[in-house]
Structures are given as C-alpha cells and as structure tokens.
Symmetry: C2
Subunit: 386 residues, 2 copies
C-alpha cells in the first residue's frame, strides 16, 4: 500500500424526506444564495419547490442561475461567476447531477478571484478561498456530491478539462433516493456505467496492486452498481434499488477507493471527455462505448489483475489467468448490452474515420492530466478496439 | 436502507515516514500541547522522540500526561483534565492505541467544562466545545483514531462506560504502519479480533438487513482483518500486513459500516466491557472469549444473515441455511484458536460462578446505551455459551 492522505469533510444527509434540510445547511454559510440548476425537470418533479421553500424558510435570499447543460459549458460557468460577483452571493447551492454540481464548483472557485476561471483548468492558477457549496443530488452517477473534482467543456477550444482541489468538497450534500425516481431508464443505466468506470479506472491503473483492503471495497461497489441498477430498471421507483445505486455511486469516487493505490490514471475518462466534447453524447454512454475496448487493451499487460476482477465480481474460477480475464470483460460487456448501454463507437454513430481527431483532442487533456503514456497512437489503438 | 448522516471530518495521513507531520498538524490548533501517552514502549521504539521533536520544531510547548493504562481509568482522565486546565493547553496530542486516544478524547471533553467529566458518560451532560485532538496511532484495533467515541473505566464504581459525540473526531490522525512493528503477536491478534468484532456488531444487529452496499464493505473488512493478521503473525515486521491491518481497523469503526443500517447494537462490547472492568483482561481477548458464544445465540433469530456471512467470508455454499450459519461461526472460532486468541471464559480463567456478577455489571451499561433487550437473564444465557 502506498502512502496517502484521506480527508473528506463533506457531510452527507441520506434518505427519504431529507431535502427540507437544505435550507439550514446552506444558510449556515450565508443568506445570499446562488441557486444553480439545469432544466425544468426539477420544477416538474417538485424538487425545485422543496429546495426553494426550505431556503426561504431559513431566511435565504435566492439568486437564480438555471440552464446548466449536461457536459456543462465554460461560457455558462462564466455567467454564473459574474452573477455571483455582482449579487455578492455568499454560498452556492446546486440542485442536480454531476453536470450541475461540477458547474457549481467551478463557479465557487471563480467567484472569489479576478482572473478567468479557465486558468484553474489549465493549471495556470491555484484555488485560494472558494465560495462554500451545498448540493441536492438528483442523479446517481458522478460522485461529484462527495468529491472535490469537476469537469467543464470549453466550447471555443472544444476541450473538456477537469481538475480537483481539496477546498472544493461540498460542505453538505443531500442524497434523497426518491429525487432520482424520475430519472429515465437510459440515464439510470448510464449513471451505473459511470459509477463502474470510476471504480475500474483506479482498479486497473494502480501501480501498486498490493491493496487488498481497497480491492474488496471496489469489487463490492461494482457488484452493487450492477445489482442495484438491475433492480431499478425492473422498477424505476424501487426505493431500495435507487438508494443502493445512489450510495454506491457516491462511494465510488469520494477518495476512499484510491486511498493507498499510489498514482492512478483516468484513461477511460480521458478518452471519453474527447468523445462527449466532440459529439455531446451522454458521459455514461460515451464511457460505455469504450470501457471494454480499453479493458481488452489494458488486460494484455496485467492479466492477473483482470482475472481477480473476473473471479471476485463474476465468480469465474476456472480456466487460465488469461481466459478468466477475458471472461470477466465479456461478462461486463454482456451486462452493458443487457441494460441497453452502447458497447462500441458504432453504436453511438461515431465513424471510424474520426478516430484520429478524437485521439488528438484527448492528447491535449493527457498533457494537462500528466498522462504522457497516453499518446495519440495508443489512444487510436484503443479506439480501434471500440 | 435507513436514513443516515455521515460526516467524518478526520484527516488521515497514512504511511511510512508520516510521523514528522504531527508537529504542523497539531500546532495549527495552538502551541500549548498536552501530550498524552501510555507506558515507556514509545520511548523505546523511538516514536516518542519523533513526535516530541516534530512538535518542538513546530514551536509547540509540551505538557506531558503519561501513564495511560489499557482500559483507561477515570481517575487518570481527571488528572489530565486538571493539567490541561491549569496549564491552559490549547490542543491535545495522543500517541498510542485506543486506550490512549480514548482517554485523550475524554480529556478534550472535560478540559473545557466546570463539571465532572463522568457526567458525559452517564448522559447527564452534553459536549459543547472540546479541545481539538491530534493522534499518532501505535496499535491497529479500536478505530478511535477516526471516530468520535471513547470508553473509560470508573474504578470506584467498576463501570466501563462509553459515549460518542461528533465534536470529538480527531482533527488529524497519523497512521504509520511501522509504528506497530513492535506490537507483540498476542496484542496484534487481539487487535484483529477487536476489528472483526466492530464489524460483526453492526452486521448482525441491524434491523434493516437490506443494506447490500454496507454488507459487501463489511464482509471485505473481515476477510482483510483475517488475511492481514495472518500475514503479520507470520512476520511481525511485514509492512504490507501491518498496513492492511491498520487501515482495515480504522475503516471498521469510522461510521461508514453503520451508515444506512438504522439502529444497531453493540452487545458484544457491552458484555466485554463488564469483563475487562472486573478482570482487567485485554479488550480484544475479552471480546474473543464471547464473540462466538454471542453469535450462536444471535444466529437462532437470524440464520439467513449468518448464512450470508458464512458464504461471503468463508465461501461456504452448500448445506441448509442453518448448517451454513453454523459452519461460518465454527470457522471464525477456528481462526481465533489459530491465532491463539481465547474462545471461552475458561480460557481467561474466569469461573462460571462469576457469570451473574458480570451480567449485572453489564446491565447497568445496557441502561445507559439504551439496550433494554439485554437484561441480566439474556446476558447470563449468552455467557453460559462462552
């Protein structure tokens, strides 16, 4: 096990009926609140009303910043920052999934500095004292509600960049599984795939595979993501399934899985960010299209690790190491197909001749993320398997 | 899954060479430091020197409070509180295992109030603003380094009482596996047993067994506690084994296993606290003597849960539910025997005729912990199986 620091100060309020706590949790940091959200879905399902009622009851003055898109845009982040500055907001409250929470984090970071927020993403500036953030989660996927990272798309340069900073952990996140009851089947599935990808990234890129504590935890999360997703797809209003999927997705990227793994990569997200920047596909769908291609590429180097995955997650115990490794990947691919999640670029209508362009876009991010082993040739090789 | 709040703000610095960070981490809260520790072992193995050097280098003025015993005594806690008050200490730094950290927490709580600290333990007073605490862990067992609870023995009344408060999480805990290299085989084993007990308490007392995310996590921790303990007992200076055991013991009682389980009990600790208050046996050894007896008692009510434990932890897949439940308990007992940990009261030289007295002592704590289903008769029934 490698040395690590683990310090996750986010307070989680989990369960049904917890949304009315958002008011007190938010105004503890200030009464002028920038409320960040996406489209009208939270107005239709009543969550917007619950949150704004609770905020007002707690004495908050609300400044609205709606319209966050999936794959949130830098231009919209900049508008939010301008609003927070001119309205002198003291705290940001996000209602949504990963896109909304990510944009809210970027606004928190940018609202307290004079320079352009994109300099944080290109590594030219460091976070100092961001605005505090609270969240109400409406999609089980990104883990953003309990971590310090975010991803934003620069529409001018077509770059989808991300970074993390310990000062950007949400102060409080409210996780009410019932808030995800209206997520349709396809986005529920993509969320589960995103969760699984978060675990697999670290599981298969650690340079110190002697991490048995983390391994069991990660394997358990993958099993739970699949089982709870199955349960929800059978009944979109299954509280038990929604709760298990939500908590699994939060735990999958809150720092605990990576603690002790040493340097890990995020190669599937690296490539996918390029896909969704160029084609605006849902993040989980983009991941789904490349995960098993990347796994087949990666398993050539570390078949033993893939055999452990196959044994612990899918109970494949017979056959050679390579056979078991292969069977584990095949089983995951079959599960993606079962939940109607794409398993190839073709399934996303992305033509083969675009591979070079996708790879070159990804290489720019690989430089920022300091992943020099992901050059254009290697990324093209992986994409050719997808 | 039941509603829950999860909020664990302790910062963990894990790994070899991390002890010199204790100075800056501690003086961040004040330069007048009460240094709490036990016997001379930390002076012999150099840890005391490393900590005090780091504290002084960071500008700390150290007030010493040595002599903490295992099963720490209220009288010694009171001395520490008096010292902290008269010396106007601003922060407490504990070097040790669970006993030392528990006593340090009680000192933190008591140093800022005028009434006697025992009133916190009997539920007559609530924590307000305790002193901040940092720790350097030297024994993998209690989990106290990343939780908000403590247990103290009142030598006058022979009561071993505990409580938890969210204001008592350590600010920073340093976990250097090498600091546990000198822990002898018997206490290493008792630490592993304590860790396993922490997981089993919640696993088998949850009133909502629909907690698959937590279940996989808990099962993984038990497997890791056993595997890493085996590795350490084969080589007391195995870094890998010490690291896995240390991180497992911390995760076993930091709030994550219980999140979503609803009301859980702590019945084995309830009974053991009575044992170690009356006989001063090592906590882990006392637990070891009663765990499988309690499990056989408890499995009558929930055999399905015990069968899941047997299947997931020991890979027992055949036989009826009751047979698998029984085999799982037998396998755990066999492992305790393998690591030379006692599996009966007789092995601790505690005579059968003391059972009534032990039970009556435990009942007093059951009242404080609000566990009315543990009356004297039931506890005696369990003890008779031990």
């Amino acid at each position: 096990m490698q040395n690590f620091v683990f310090h996750n100060p986010t307070k989680i309020l989990f369960g049904k009926g917890t949304i009315p706590a958002i008011g007190p949790e938010t105004v503890a940091f200030g009464s002028k609140v920038l409320l960040v959200y996406g489209s009208g879905s939270i107005k239709r399902n009543g969550i917007y009303q619950q949150v704004s009622d609770s905020l007002r009851k707690s004495g908050a003055e609300i400044v609205e910043h709606p319209g966050v898109q999936s794959n949130p845009l830098l231009s919209h982040v900049r508008e939010g920052i301008e609003l927070a500055k001119t309205q002198k907001c003291q705290v940001v409250c996000a209602i949504g999934g990963g896109s909304v929470i990510d944009e809210a984090k970027a606004i928190c970071a940018g609202a307290m500095v004079d320079h352009d927020v994109w300099k944080f993403f290109t590594g030219k500036k460091s976070i100092t004292a961001p605005l505090p953030l609270t969240t109400v989660l409406t999609l089980a996927a990104s883990g953003s509600e309990m971590n310090s990272g975010m991803v934003i798309t620069n529409g001018e340069t077509m770059q989808k960049f991300g970074f993390a900073n310990k000062k950007l952990y949400p102060k409080t996140s409210i996780l009410d599984p019932e808030a995800t009851f209206t997520v349709p089947a396809d986005y529920t599935a993509y969320g589960a795939v995103d969760t699984i990808a978060h675990v697999l990234e670290f599981y298969f890129t650690t340079q110190d595979p002697a991490t048995p504590v983390q391994d069991r935890f990660m394997e358990g999360l993958i099993i739970n993501a699949m089982e709870s997703c199955d349960r929800v797809l059978a009944d979109l209003r299954s509280y038990q399934g929604r709760a298990d999927l939500m908590w699994t997705s939060t735990l999958a990227l809150n720092g605990l899985t990576a603690a002790g793994l040493g340097k890990v990569g995020f190669p599937m997200h690296l490539i996918e960010h390029s896909l969704s920047a160029l084609y605006n596909v849902p993040h989980g769908a983009g991941l789904s299209a490349i995960i098993t291609g990347w796994m087949r590429h990666q398993s050539q180097d570390i078949p033993q690790r893939f055999a452990q995955f196959a044994e612990r997650v899918f109970d494949f115990r017979s056959g050679s190491t390579k056979e078991r490794a292969q069977k584990g990947i095949d089983a995951l691919e079959a599960w993606f197909q079962k939940i109607n999640s794409p398993t190839s670029l073709a399934a996303l209508n992305i033509p083969d001749q675009d591979i070079q362009q996708i790879a070159e876009n990804a290489v720019a991010l690989a430089r920022v993320w300091r992943m020099p082993d992901y050059d254009s040739e290697r990324i093209q090789t992986i994409l050719a398997r997808c």
